[in-house]
Amino acid sequence: MNIVVLLKAVPVVGTERLDADLLTDRSVQLEANGNDEYLLEKALQLTETHGGEVTLLTVGPSGATEALRKALAMGAAGAVHVVDETMRGSDARATIEVLAAALAKLDFDLCFAGADTSDGQGGVVGAALAVKLGLPYLSYASEIEPAPAGVRIHRLNAAGYDVLESPTPAVIMGTQLLGAPRYPSLRGIMQARSKPLDTWTLADLGIGSDAVGSATATTRTLDAEKPPERAGATFVREPADVAVAQVVDFLAARRLI
């Protein structure tokens, strides 16, 4: 089975900032979105067991290359990087159109997406993409395996999980329960240098630059400010019994118990 893993290159967690236009500044160092790496790990395991190849797909600035190389070193066979300066400031809809157009050119049985990204926290792209592509959408996967009918996943819910099945190709959004991502081996890092990393532009996808970018965005950020500081902790350093009485009084005063 051939699997495309959607991988977003996000600012290194903790270093995120907005630029002068209140857009996420992507000129800082980028890394693979943490949640996406769990899907990559599962994709690698599935293809190691059942055959096929893993292809990475990212839409993002030229600085995303480093994250793609690392993911190639983990074991992906190749990568497609859609990079076009005119996309800066695109909203979710434009990004989904670009991803859908790129996926239409790739041959895959499964397309994997992480549960959400550290810089946007939307968690909606996978579902919208599936609709655009006319494919089944399966989400919050804690297990993914081939099935006679196509693919079977465990979907987390509050009480346990549902077992879902659909034909393939399908879009699957997964969780960390799929298993921790591997570290690239030295051999993997060497091999990654010669793996195909294709760069596509919007023109390659038949999308005009007038369909993307800030000018077409349907939403805007109005302002950004530092959150109000919490007042600072009151310290309790008394022996346990006294400390507990103070905690109870504190909670009662705030009507929390």
Binding site: A127, Y137, S142, A231, G232, V244, V248
Partner: protein
């Protein structure tokens, strides 16, 4: 004069707390705009949740679905029906809760309707002729406000955006038929497995007691669960605790887990690393119990109890039980 809809969620025959919060929010935003609000409830037995939802003000539109659809994930049932009704009634703004099912509904609706979308909302208000959505951006480093450039859109909101409050007069309840539904590609629920010891969901909890590496073991984590039970709250955990298998992933709070906003968070043996902080820093009140007075959690806790959690937590559990027993 905006028409603002909430797409509701039903659990055990009742609207979820998040649904009632959004209905309260929609009511306020509709009043501010001089418009109207509606709550949409879709699914088999949706009617049973209608009266409670209506008591929060917005008129409730019920779409009952037949048993044949019960083998599909609920988002795959709700989204195409919501999309058909949106096409029919053209509401200006559609509120969806950021639960797992809610985010699926929002994503599917995004694909089906092509409406603009703002997600990861922590709060929303009607201002300057449209909704302004507040977000806790980059793990809470910034508070940003966003708006739509046009006059329509989908807003995905996390729990805790507002306190759910019943309205002075309840909304009407109407059962709607939906025409022109085009079903999504079929996904079948072939089995449902209940796992023993499944904990109360943290997204809906007003009080959460969290445990970190400091609890030391699965047995140590029981102290956290006991305190949560005494407080009537849910159990949360850091990634280290989940990775150790002491509690399930559904309870994980933080960057790679869930972002929650309870009225009270009690952090037991949690250092407060940035990855955990981002998941809980907007809690109303944070009480930390930690041996290390220099732990980063002191920087965002309201009350920092310095001491051995194995001594303090069981005594706190007893004290709260005693207080509740005394009424």
């Amino acid at each position: 004069m905006a028409e603002i809809w909430t797409i509701g969620e039903i659990a055990d025959g009742a609207p979820t707390r998040l649904t009632l919060e959004l209905a309260t929010l929609a009511r306020g935003m509709a009043e501010a705009s001089g418009g109207t609000a509606r709550t949409l409830l879709v699914g088999q037995g949706a009617g049973s949740a209608a009266a409670e939802a209506a008591s929060y003000g917005p008129a409730v539109l019920v779409v009952e679905t037949d048993a044949a659809l019960a083998s599909r994930p609920i988002a795959n049932v709700v989204a195409p029906r919501a999309a058909a009704l949106i096409a029919q009634h053209s509401p200006d703004f559609v509120l969806v809760g950021a639960s797992n099912d809610g985010k699926d509904v929002a994503g599917l609706l995004l694909g089906l309707t092509d409406l603009p979308i703002l997600y990861n909302g922590a709060a929303a208000a009607w201002a300057d002729g449209g909704p302004q959505v507040e977000m806790s951006t980059f793990g809470g480093k910034l508070v940003t406000h966003s708006a739509f450039n046009g006059s329509r859109g989908i807003i995905v909101l996390r729990s805790g955006a507002i306190t759910a409050e019943p309205a002075a007069s309840a909304g009407s309840v109407e059962t709607a038929g939906v025409d022109g539904v085009s079903e999504l590609p079929e996904v079948k629920v072939v089995d449902s497995v209940t796992e023993a010891g499944a904990a109360a969901p943290i997204e809906e909890a007003r009080i959460i007691v969290g445990g970190g590496r400091g609890v030391g073991s699965a047995d140590g984590f029981r102290l956290v669960e006991d305190l949560a039970a005494a407080l009537g709250g849910a159990v949360g955990a850091t990634r280290a605790v989940v990775d150790s298998g002491w509690i399930g992933y559904s309870q994980q709070i933080g960057q790679t887990g869930k972002i929650v906003k309870p009225a009270l968070y009690v952090a037991c043996g949690i250092s407060g690393a940035i990855q955990h902080k981002v998941g809980v820093q907007t809690a109303g009140t944070i009480v930390a119990i930690n041996r290390d007075p220099d732990a980063p959690i002191a920087e965002f806790a309201d009350l920092m109890v310095v001491g051995d959690l194995f001594e303090i937590v069981p005594r706190l559990t007893e004290a709260i039980q005693a207080r509740k027993a005394a009424g």
